[in-house]
């Protein structure tokens, strides 16, 4: 699939996502945040990093980038869109996904391996996964604590929008939520980094579950 990797000033994981997309048989293309999304792009990934140096709030400035107008349009059109880490923060700041990402309850940047469990929500990125599957995956963020008010969370649960939960309380996230999707299921935000867990060399546990998130696009 032709997947656009959106590059903001300060994106750090664009090259990593590009590498894994190539490795999983896709045709990735970088899309600079000031440019339009090329017509032939079939899915988008907003990679992690420190867009605009995380000034103001993580993702706050990038969510006003010129490209976000197009991203919003594509989201409504049903294009598969995945935001990873800072990409998730940008999507949340831009209102494409419910909730916000706050400073970790440790008040520190935290980089470590953990596991997330798939909750069965249907998205274009989770087709090969089965409800209850655990995915070994690293997190690396300072503002990764998912927060939404209890009504919103209940709503999300009813609509199958909570896609992944941590198997442990790693940062104080509400309901240990690690990843959520929009109501239509085509836009997914994920705080941990699947692209860092998708190869034998980089994943000391089992790289196949995280890899299936990228392979999933080919199964559509």
């Amino acid at each position: 699939m032709r997947v656009g990797v959106v590059v903001f000033p300060g994106s750090n994981c664009d090259r990593d996502v590009h590498h894994v997309l190539m490795d999983t048989g896709h045709e990735p293309a970088y899309v600079w945040h000031e440019h339009a999304i090329p017509d032939n792009i079939e899915a988008l990934i907003l990679p992690g990093g420190f867009s605009y140096g995380d000034r103001l709030r993580a993702g706050a400035i990038a969510s006003h980038s010129p490209i976000m107008r197009h991203v919003r349009y594509m989201a409504r059109e049903g294009m598969p869109i995945l935001g990873i880490c800072n990409g998730f923060q940008i999507l949340a700041e831009g209102g494409l996904l419910p909730g916000v990402l706050l400073h970790n309850d440790t008040a520190r940047f935290t980089c470590r391996w953990t596991r997330i469990r798939y909750g069965g929500a249907k998205t274009p990125f989770t087709i090969p996964l089965r409800n209850g599957d655990a995915i070994p995956i690293p997190v690396a963020n300072g503002e990764g604590r998912y927060h939404a008010d209890p009504d919103t969370i209940r709503h999300m649960e009813e609509n199958s929008q909570v896609v992944f939960r941590y198997t442990e309380n790693i940062n104080g996230s509400a309901g240990d939520i690690a990843g959520v999707c929009n109501i239509d299921g085509n836009v997914l935000g994920l705080m941990p980094h699947p692209e860092r867990a998708a190869e034998y060399d980089t994943n000391p546990y089992d790289h196949r579950p995280a890899r299936s998130i990228f392979k999933s696009l080919g199964d559509m």
Partner: protein, 709 residues
Amino acid sequence: MLDSEMSHLRQSLGREPTETETAIISAEWSEHCSYKSSREHLRILPRDAPYVISDKGLDSGVIDVGGGYVVTAHIESHNHPSAVEPYGGAATGVGGIIRDIMSAGTRPICILDGLRFGDIEADRHAAWLLRGAVRGISDYGNCLGIPTIGGETGFDPSYSKYTLVDVAAVGFGIRERLIHNTAGPGDHIVLLGGPTGYDGVGGAQFASERMDEEDRSAVQIPDPFMEKMVMEAILKLRPYIKALKDLGGGGLACAASETADALGVGIAIDTDAVHTRDNNMTPPQIMASESQERMLAIVDDTGLAHIREVCGRFRVPHSIIGVVNDTGTLTVRHHGTVVAELPASLAAHAPPLRWPSKPPTPGEDHTTIPDQNDYTHTLERMLGGADCASRNWIYSQYDHEVGIRTVSRPGQDASVLRLDNGKYLAVSMCGSPRHCHLNPYHGTMGCFEEACRNVRCAGATPVAMLDHLQFGSPEDPQIFWSFLQSVRALADYSKHTGIPCIGGKVSLYNETDTGPIKPSPVILVLGLADQNFRRRPIRDGDALYIIGVTKNETGGSSYHHHTGTGGGTCPRVDMVSSTSNGVAASSLAGLGTIHDCSRGGLAVAASRMCITSDMGCTIDLDAIPGDVPHPGVALFAESHSRYLVSIPYNHTKEAAHTLGEAGVPHARIGTYGGASIRFEAGATPVCNVMVDKAHNTWSESLERMIHHG
């Protein structure tokens, strides 16, 4: 500047230097920039190997790693600034080293940091410095998207009110895309990056003196986002840049004069063209400012057009501040008037200083670990002590995964990155000031060997070394003697093993009103492996082997430190068995899990293996090869060239065969199983620690010390 230097300058110019010239020379001839006390002595370090690429004007060491790829590496420190303002000092330390890697035209792929503080268990100021430095490195490195994959942290009262922040970085790139540093008349001098401000004016001189007062204005202000934009712009511009230089210590003054000298050209700079934070800056301030995130590029007309386009896209401020000519002179103009006109070779070569050296009164004696029959409490204390406790609190704040090259993570002996040519790069950074204090020659060689050992543990072969030599004032003959001993040890080990020194740094005058630091060389070793040797889980019944000889040399050990014992003998590296033991250990990387035996000795090393695998082990101290008068020495001596290897129970024959063929001293000393780490002598337990208890004290104590003291 010294009086003798001022008169040398006057004599060379044949006139009084101008104010701007004095500012340029003061920065360039500072110890920090000129190596005037050390340069001559560093010549004995072997620098050549068939794969070493040494081009003029390179800010980093470069090796060819095959398949058309190169690895670059550099090491630096930011000690004085970090001691005053740990956050900014450590952050800008990272920034500087990254620009050195970029200036070769390679992309930085990892950062390592070596940190030293006062006694964290008692000294609250040390805890404050540690928190600040770690946060500085974390905020800066994470924002750049470069993984901080390793390093080391040590504590000693000789660093009280002070800190050592050593930062190393490694880059990776295509050999053909290296920036080769050439320049010709008519080329443009472009300054790109953040605006030049008052911060850091005089920083190089500040770093070249004993630290008596807190001069905060000499500390630079970090802006990692600007650095990231500069980095991406530079990497895009790589094919169009003829020469590239980082603006570090001594700012524009040093970058311009060193570039002109190295490339054999003249450079004319117009200070009015420099983009500044303040319009009222004077030429001496502009030349000596150490504002961060700036680089000097030399380009031709075509290159200039590309710079404008790419810097525009990345919003990187830049100005065309001068031209290259063939005069061999650094000329500075301000409002149309020449304010400095210095021969570049004069500016770039400070007159060397010669200091007397004198051996100190012998520090070594025959003190050793006392014999006792219960070492359990000692081992528990050591596992939870500042020397040996887990550094997880530190490295979990560093993104060590970004870039998806990280194969072996911080907390292992060596960190390992995959390269694009199918090979794996292992890196390790080591220092051991207590050993170096006791005997700078053997202590320094030990640091070099330990870094090599760590690389061997990952199944890699050491291929290059970088040294960072940190001492007090060279004007003290005993300190200068220690420095010379250190350099000699590095040269000797390098010659013997054929591992070249591809870069390094000297930092002198590391002292406060409480005195000088202990001699603190920090050694970085790079190794290459053809394979990713993953750590194997250890199972019940697996065997534990030791390779190497344990000797009664316990001076400077963690045990002595814990028990407040001075003296003793510094461990000696036996150069012959160093290589053979290392090669033998490395050859088992595909079979088992290898762990270096160093700080805390066998007892701590074996405990670490048990903790990591959540499995007990029973170890027979009588089986250990060597000269061990009693179990205490076997447990805690820090003899070099030793490795612990866990071998799956069904592969012990293969392992024994391999080690027998290699002809290295070795023994099977233990069997995994049970819930405790148990050391026996003559079938009697002399030390017995529960794995879960060891795990808790080892993993949680550093955080407790940092927060609660």
